[in-house]
């Protein structure tokens, strides 16, 4: 299954109002890799992720998923391959019940009734939210919403998981259990985040974006120890790598 590759070639993007957000972005992520995308607010992380499932497309540069370039003919297949979990779970959950929400993707893919039900149950089971099946999403806690959001994507059995700030708004315990859950997934993972400690836990590789350009791309450990590099990109050394002030 070596075709779960995500590749961007000289990608540039300008919003219709003239804001230039991505400038000549190139990278190649291979099968099974976990990659963190970090950078200050407004650096362009979310915009970059929206290119990976073809929601946004640029006149300049291209995105390849596997061997396919994203275009009209491949887009439906690509949206199945690339599961996208958005920053705010309230945007992701829009159906009257958790079941309906998790079934939304598989129904659009045209699976049979039985297959859809199986997929919903399996995905909810994986994220530990099976008992929430008949609850309306707007009544769930932040952690539960996040778990269900992930299930809505898992039910389409994607090969690549793309997540925008999955740990934001989570309490320490929910954050821990989410990290534990993501660790178990064997998908190719691309995670945009401000939570550098999580990046350190989950991703061997990190891409740093600053004002729409890639300023660093390498091993997470190495990048996060480079105080100067982080400072230049408006970031800070994650707590776990900081020298302990008490013990010196």
């Amino acid at each position: 299954m070596s075709h779960h590759i995500v590749e961007a070639r000289n990608l540039s993007y300008t919003y219709p109002d003239g804001t230039r957000v991505l400038k000549d972005i190139s990278f190649k992520i291979t099968h099974g890799e976990s990659v963190a995308v970090v950078g200050a607010n407004g650096a362009g992380k979310s915009t970059l992720l929206l290119h990976l499932n073809g929601y946004l497309s640029s006149s300049k540069g291209e995105v390849l998923i596997g061997d396919y370039q994203i275009n009209k003919d491949t887009i439906q297949n690509i949206r199945r391959t690339v599961g996208m979990v958005f920053q705010n779970p309230d945007d992701q959950l829009f159906m009257p019940t958790v079941f309906d929400d998790v079934a939304f993707g598989p129904l659009n893919l045209g699976f049979s009734k039985q297959e859809v039900e199986e997929r919903v149950n399996r995905s909810l089971e994986i994220v530990g939210a099976l008992k929430l099946k008949d609850r309306p999403p707007y009544k769930l806690s932040g952690g539960e919403k996040r778990a269900v959001s992930i299930a809505t994507v898992l039910s389409m059995s994607p090969d690549i998981l793309v997540m925008d700030e999955p740990t934001s708004n989570l309490d320490p315990k929910s954050r821990r259990s989410l990290i534990g859950l993501l660790k178990k997934f064997e998908h190719t993972k691309i995670i945009a985040t401000h939570d550098l400690d999580m990046a350190l836990d989950l991703c061997e590789r990190t891409i740093i974006i600053h004002e729409g350009k890639i300023t660093a791309d390498g091993l997470t450990e190495n990048l996060f120890r480079d105080k100067e590099l982080l400072f230049e990109n408006s970031l800070e050394i994650p707590l776990r790598l900081q020298a302990c002030p008490v013990c010196g």
Binding site: L50, N53, R79, F86, N88, F94, L107, N108, M156
Partner: protein, 271 residues
């Protein structure tokens, strides 16, 4: 203010959840339910403006569906009351303009204006209840699917579905903004029209952005503008009987003043 918008949102959301119930009413095909509701609303709306007694049989429909569908009566009534200011606004001037005496009850003159005012309120209540009941037993998603099956163009149905979703988004964003404003406005005089205008503008933008993000999430999960359901229901003979039965009932109530006919029949028996 902020509390009440929050309640409206939760309560309308709750309606959609009710639609997952499994009573005999819930199992009627959505197209038939839609049709029955439309005939009901048209019949009620086209009643003469002074009718009050003749409206009462329409309550039989409301009561029957609530009873068979196991719907929460109190919360349905409360929802209609929340919207009643609109009806009062529409009808409030009638008593002032239309002063022709119509009835004389124990020496008290009741003018046509008052009659039509009460009639408007009743008709409004009936119509709103019929709509709420439709959403409660069918769910907005199934209603839209039914509209699609009835041949309405896809763009149009998608618009309705999104409008409904955006209603919540609007309420949600609005609630957040009002709360934020109340926490920062200390001087009551700051509460002026200009501030309100600016807030309305930014509410629009926020709603638009939020709606766009929801759309992104739908597209990301394979949404192509087509409404897919777990089960494609078929219209069976029970559904057809249901539709014909209610239609005949509504037409009878519309064209004959049944309470009056019944009254005079009873009088004849006793004479």
């Amino acid at each position: 203010m902020s509390i009440s918008t929050e309640t409206i949102k939760l309560e309308i959301h709750a309606l959609d959840v009710l639609s997952r119930g499994n009573s005999r009413i819930h199992r009627i095909d959505a197209r038939i339910q839609l049709f029955v509701t439309v005939v009901f609303v048209l019949s009620v709306m086209s009643m003469s403006r002074y009718d009050i007694i003749a409206l009462f049989p329409f309550f039989i429909y409301i009561t029957a569906i609530i009873a068979i569908g196991g719907l929460p009566v109190i919360s349905l009534i409360k929802k209609a009351l929340l919207m009643s200011p609109f009806a009062i606004m529409i009808g409030i001037f009638n008593p002032f303009f239309d002063k022709t005496p119509y009835l004389n009850v124990y020496g008290l003159n009741i003018t046509g204006g008052w009659l039509s005012f009460i009639s408007i309120i009743l008709r409004f209540f009936l119509t709103v209840e019929a709509g709420l009941i439709l959403i409660s037993v069918t769910g907005m998603y199934r209603i839209c699917k039914a509209l699609r099956q009835l041949g309405l163009p896809e763009v149009f149905v998608t618009q309705i579905l999104f409008l409904y979703r955006y209603l919540f988004v609007l309420i949600e964003e609005g609630t957040g903004m009002i709360r934020a404003k109340e926490l920062r406005v200390f001087n009551k005089r700051q509460n002026n029209l200009k501030l309100f205008g600016r807030m309305a503008g930014s509410l629009f933008l926020r709603t638009f952005n939020r709606a766009q993000r929801i759309y992104q999430a739908m597209v990301a999960r394979g949404y192509k503008g087509e409404i897919k359901m777990l089960e494609n229901s078929k219209i069976n003979s029970v559904d057809i009987m249901y539709g014909i039965g209610w239609t005949m009932f509504f037409l009878a109530v519309r064209f004959y003043n049944i309470p009056v006919l019944m009254g005079s029949a009873v009088l004849k028996v006793f004479q």
